[in-house]
Assembly symmetry: C2
Homo-oligomer: 151 residues x 2
């Protein structure tokens, strides 16, 4: 590989290629709120049907959502987060947390999260799994394992 054709590609780029879409994230947000049915996504998001169908299809193809028969109505389908989908939760939480802090207007954040486990308002914080401390970008270095060509 010629050096000038190599760039630092990491999983951020790959993740954004799959998730970097306003509607995908809003569908996932709703899924984390417990929404499972097409009509509920449609009503909650004010999204056009063709866009909703397209994004649900993409999320199913990428194995982020499972499309399964509705246990309550065999003629219909529901969309359920897979394990891969459930793992997106930190991304949704960190987007929401940043938006709450930096983009909310004078009304404050439109949604407040509650951590049922400890009974307090949920303030998500990115920590190191080893030492438990909050991760500060100034305390992180990286090692390039390999380079990839730009796709």
């Amino acid at each position: 590989m010629k050096e000038e054709a190599a760039t630092r590609i990491c999983s951020v780029a790959n993740a954004i290629d799959i998730l970097g879409d306003r509607w995908c994230f809003l569908i996932l947000r709703e899924a984390f709120f417990g929404v499972r049915r097409y009509d509920a996504f449609l009503g909650n998001l004010g999204i056009a049907t063709n866009i909703l169908s397209n994004r649900l299809k993409k999320l199913v193809e990428n194995r982020i959502l499972d499309r399964i028969k509705d246990p309550g109505d065999a003629r219909r389908f529901i969309y359920r987060l897979t394990e891969k989908g459930l793992d997106i939760y930190p991304i949704v939480l960190s987007l929401m947390n940043w938006g709450d802090k930096w983009l909310a207007d004078e009304n404050g954040p439109p949604l407040v999260l509650h951590h049922n486990r400890c009974g307090h308002h949920l303030e998500p914080v990115m920590s190191c799994a080893h030492c438990g401390e909050k991760v500060d970008p100034k305390e992180v270095s990286y090692q390039e394992v390999y380079k990839e060509k730009v796709k």
Copy 2:
């Protein structure tokens, strides 16, 4: 506001409107790696100059990057993360972590992060600032403070 026109808008939507772009995230990733100069962004990302200029302008307008005179060369400018920009780190980390786990090929993750504070490989985990436990979506509920119209 008529009920059918109201949807659950939260800060996720607002954050994605500003950040939901592959190139914005890749520029931010580079900034977190310490990149400050236009030519370095250009070389590391293999990005077209018009796209790079456009995204840098957008990030400066949104006060995520500061465009300041290069202390080493007054004819040039550097781009530096603001406090608002530094706060994006958990989003970048969670995207990278999810991509490493679910999208990496047989070579494994192309980049490995090191937590200099504790000396270990960095495995970022989203925790509750109050109790310190890892946040599980099944243990979180939400309260809708107010609804907004779809923009």
